[in-house]
Amino acid sequence: MSQATMTQDTTPAPAPRTNTLAGKSLPRWSPIGFAAVSIALAVGLGTVAGWQSKMQWGLLAALFFVVLTYTAASAVEGKRQAKDRVATSVMWVCFILAVVPLASLLWTTVGRGIKVLDGYFLTHSMAGVPGFEAGGGVYHALIGTVEQVGLATLFAAPIGLLTAVYLVEYGRGTLAKAVTFFVDVMTGIPSIVAGLFLLSIMLMFKLQPSGFMGALALAILMVPVVVRSTEEMLKLVPNELREASLALGVPKWRTILKVVLPTAIGGITTGVMLAIARIAGETAPIMLLVFGTQLINSNPFDGAQSSLPFYIWEQYRVGSDASYDRAWAAALVLIAFVMILNLVARGIARWKAPKTGR
């Protein structure tokens, strides 16, 4: 039977093969060898040609690596293994290309930010410190960011969550389609537009700038992100669980509350945290609506506040060595803030995720 189908096959017979399953293969160290050779080649060529940019050297090395791997592997191991190796090496190259800027960004921020980052910096404001002199701190901006982001989350997380529950559990027909469409549109709103929108409201009702107004703009940016991620997570909850609960005579709303949401809670938390991370770095709405200050104002409902991204921008604009240092230190604080939130989210996700095992 299989003989017959084999002979009918029109593809050319495979290259002569030995009868064993094991073929020739490159030694295990060969990728490292290829990498060394291609880097050497690229450096050599780069120096000879007198290229200044290290970027060109790196790209050339990557190119050499891929070509070298392919030719060597197809000569020794055969076409399929060669393709496999090329795919693997392209993936590695892309991974390195993605990680290099990230690592260098972290390296620079930590290196330059750590200089003035200490207890004093974290607990003092810029009150009475001339911008171009050393001293002062980030406390007022940190408070501003925590309060504005906290308020924004307080508004956006429930709205986003409930919208997603509506879309996944109840939404049918035109209304659901319309909601989905508007969420998509909202995802694309630039932060400055959200800021201008609230600014026009602020002027219309003759309100003063405050952390609260900024939080509203941040909430507008946050809602679509929360909706999208929560929606995906709720869709992952198997229908069988909903049916199991309904079949026990549990009403639909309790099924959602007690079965669907707990099952998805890990992913939902991660999504909310990512949304928080996204808005924590927004500057534009803060400039327009919170105005910025050098003083500590811990009341988000009254008067101007500062925030970390705003502080960074402000310090950078001053343009003295001391203010540059402060800007970098504040950037480091912002990254740490987001990172800590992220770790907390992962912790919660792991703690709450459906447990398996005995």
Binding site: V250, R254, V259, T263, K355, T356
Partner: protein, 258 residues
């Protein structure tokens, strides 16, 4: 406790597709009724119309009457939630709640429907797990997640969960299709015990199982692919397996199909 089910002129639809057509039958209380028939003939669909789970599927629609001791489940003033409390269901694939422990899984139906005292709950959970022949295997790890059990244990956990709310009818959709012979036997014994208290309907592809556990057997068939499924006949299990009144039933049971 156990109730009689009277179905008359029941058709069920998925959107515009008619899955079952004009089914009428009576399910006797305190007995086991088995549904057999080829794949796709609408056994699961019919089963789900008996506790109003069919309408949970998007596009699901039902015509006809299902009387539970003279009360029409599809009357306009009937709340599907209370129907499902009276008519419990065990699904083909075990589906314990992954976020809950074994204890909470069994207590889920009670807890999600009202408040109970801790000691009361513990009693009911123990009774249900014993009823489902699972107590001895899990009594030392009631606080461990339910998804950590084997497939057969999970299925018995789902049965315990279904009987914990004391339904009057228990619907089982191929409860043993993923189980080994020993777990299957355990569940069949369990069905034998449960029929003292409940009305039981079981869908199965296993002829021996139908012959072993059921008092009455209903044979479903469909004329052709895409056609709605129909009830061919329902009778005492012994008659269906020895001397059915329709030729198609005999062909199906003896494996001479098509």
């Amino acid at each position: 406790m156990a109730k009689r089910i009277d179905v008359s002129g029941l058709s069920a639809f998925y959107g515009t597709h008619k899955a079952i057509d004009d089914i009428s039958m009576t399910v006797e209380p305190r007995s086991v009724t088995a549904f057999i028939g080829p794949s796709g003939c609408g056994k699961s669909t019919f089963l789900r119309t008996l506790n109003r789970m069919h309408e949970v599927t998007p596009g699901g629609r039902v015509e006809g009457k299902v009387l539970l001791d003279d009360e029409n489940l599809y009357a306009s003033n009937v709340d599907p939630v209370s129907v499902r409390r009276t008519v419990g269901m065990v699904f083909q694939r075990p589906n314990p709640f992954p976020t809950m422990s074994i204890f909470d899984n069994v207590a889920a139906g009670l807890r999600l429907n009202g408040s109970y005292k801790k000691s009361e709950l513990a009693d009911i959970v123990e009774k249900s797990l014993k009823g489902a022949n699972l107590w001895n295997e899990v009594k030392d790890r009631l606080n461990k997640p339910g998804s950590g059990l084997s497939g057969g244990q999970q299925q018995r956990l789902c049965i315990a969960r279904a009987i914990a709310v004391e339904p009057q009818v228990l619907l089982m959709d191929e409860p043993c299709s993923a189980l080994d012979p020993i777990s299957t036997l355990a569940i069949e014994d369990l069905i034998g015990e449960l029929k003292e208290r409940f009305t039981i309907v079981i869908v199965t592809h296993n002829m021996q199982q139908a012959a072993r556990v059921s008092d009455r057997t209903a044979f479903f068939n469909l004329a052709a692919v895409g056609q709605p499924g129909k009830l061919i006949e329902i009778d005492e299990t012994e008659r269906i397996f020895s001397n059915p009144s329709v030729q198609a039933t005999e062909d199906y049971i003896s494996g001479r199909f098509g």
